[in-house]
Symmetry: C2
Subunit: 332 residues, 2 copies
């Protein structure tokens, strides 16, 4: 097996976030499911946008955030995702490249505009997301370059890819190429509603196609239809080599075969906005995983990267994460 030239290649929905502060009453008035990611069509996105407050635009997308975080840690990554050749598409491409991540997916020259996610941040720092997938629905297997997948230690896929119609084909193609090249495949379950929409397929993926699984405690409970974290943990054990379960302020739990490692959350002065917490946890964890960090060290680096993400508005790192690597390797 050739040495990998990339740490991680991520495949995901290429999205520009529009972040705005909102009160809980605004979520209620507009019937929004707090804390969740809900898919909306262009009209619903327009209506909500017109009603919400002044926004800040920032590149987003779950796997794309992870790759930006990986680059900030000093890792080498590439991202595959679909934007239109419009202004927000140019913003997305600029930002991920400027973060240090390779991004060579062809822009769509027709069809819907670049995807956007309206992110409403409530005073409790929770984020509620309404996503118009736009051009992201055009991602297909033709966008997966086998050479890029083969060159990466890990192919990382977001569960959200199960929403647009053809992206799952891209996903499965990439997973097959990765395994054919002796590489690993990682998956994030993304969102509990996303798990509800695709439970049977996600269970099959976890059992048969994935080596590293990321989920938060609500998502893993949704996957195995239990309200109990320990039951969910028992259900997933043994189904893939490495499972990282995040629990917000309770830290995270890594399941590696029969071993279980609980790692406390990294301290945060003030939680401003939880957007990107899971994405950045995955960034730190994967950075460690491809460098043979212990599972607990991977979880610690994930927690440190997540702590940076939630200390400011937006998902992408505001300052370099490179200094976190050493901190994660110190004995806990």
């Amino acid at each position: 097996m050739a040495k990998a030239s990339l740490d991680v290649v991520g495949i995901g929905n290429a999205i520009v976030d529009v972040l705005a502060h909102a009160e809980d009453g605004f979520l209620q008035t507009h019937g929004l499911a707090k804390g969740a990611m809900t898919l909306v069509d262009a009209d619903a996105a327009e209506t909500l946008y017109a009603a919400m407050g002044p926004g800040v635009e920032m590149s987003g997308g779950s796997a794309a955030n992870t790759l930006a975080g990986l680059a900030s840690l000093g890792g080498r990554g590439a991202f595959i995702g679909k934007v239109r050749d419009d202004q927000l598409g140019a913003v997305f491409a600029h930002d991920i490249r400027a973060a240090g991540t390779s991004f060579e997916t062809a822009f769509a020259a027709a069809g819907p505009p670049t995807a956007r996610c309206l992110v409403l941040v409530t005073p409790d720092a929770q984020r509620t997301m309404q996503t118009f997938l736009g051009a992201a629905v055009d991602l297909g297997p033709e966008d997966v370059d086998p050479a890029v997948i083969e060159s990466a230690e890990v192919t990382y896929l977001e569960g959200y890819l199960w929403d647009p119609p053809r992206a799952k084909q891209a996903f499965l193609k990439a997973a097959e190429i990765a395994h054919g090249a002796g590489r690993r495949v990682a998956l994030s379950l993304s969102d509990p509603f996303c798990v509800e929409r695709h439970r049977a397929e996600f269970r099959d993926l976890v059992e048969n196609h994935v080596d590293i699984l990321f989920a938060n405690e609500i998502e893993i409970a949704a996957l195995y239809e239990t309200a109990d974290f320990d039951a969910a943990l028992a259900a997933v054990r043994g189904r893939c080599a490495l499972v990282a379960l995040t629990r917000s302020e309770k830290g995270s739990v890594v399941v590696a075969g029969q071993e279980t490692h609980a790692v406390p959350a990294a301290p945060v002065d003030r939680v401003v906005d939880t957007t990107g917490a899971g994405d950045l946890y995955a960034a730190g964890f994967l950075y460690g995983a491809v460098r043979d960090f212990t599972p607990a060290e991977c979880a610690r680096l994930g927690g440190l990267a997540a702590a940076e993400a939630i200390s400011h508005l937006g998902a992408r790192p505001e300052s370099s994460l490179a200094g976190l690597v050493t901190a994660a390797r110190r004995p806990a």
Copy 2:
């Protein structure tokens, strides 16, 4: 004279800011004039954008920021400025309306895209701006609705309007209508390089068309070609009714006829980004000026609004400024 239904109507370049952190070395490498606003063409903007780090998009524009600040203070305002019917134009229109400011200027249906300003924030919190004027060059006198100007207590104009070819005609038309309706006209000198470009015209404006003048100490020194603040102050005294001169951490000085009021700067925990400091000072000052606050109270409210702006990234208020009004009216 009919009672004004608006406090302020602002006319300015309608711009979306792209903010990114940069080191001083980056400014040197790209030959950028630190702290200044420099006009660039589309190609130069593209080249610089490709070289700079990941960005955050936020609506900007000097007078537009002032109107957003005025609305946040509880004032009633309208903005006149030109965007294209593109994605960034929609962002600009959404944000200023969502701030509570009326914005009814027709979007350009052809021609260059919505203006953008690449704002590089260095570790000392100073901002350096490269502006591609785009659709803003299409603003002309046909965009000035006399009824809106007549309905506003103050017509506020940014000096940057002297850069695009036809905007100054819009400016002069608006000033004439405002004075014809017994209203006041305010002007910001905007930027020392802008003053250099248009010195003779700006001197004539200040003397013959403007009732309230805003400038920082460098701009007023540039206008009267002196390096000495007191000499500049003496030169401007008597040329228009009310002159507010900002001096960064030294606060501001108001010249009202023969009176002079020096007001200290409002305290700031940490200066993060000076983008918008002058714009928000004008917002606070004008809010007071149309409510018969004393000159010192106007300056205090300006200073408080500016202090909020420099405590975070970006020019527009992050939280409601309404609470500042009472603080400004307390005896100093």
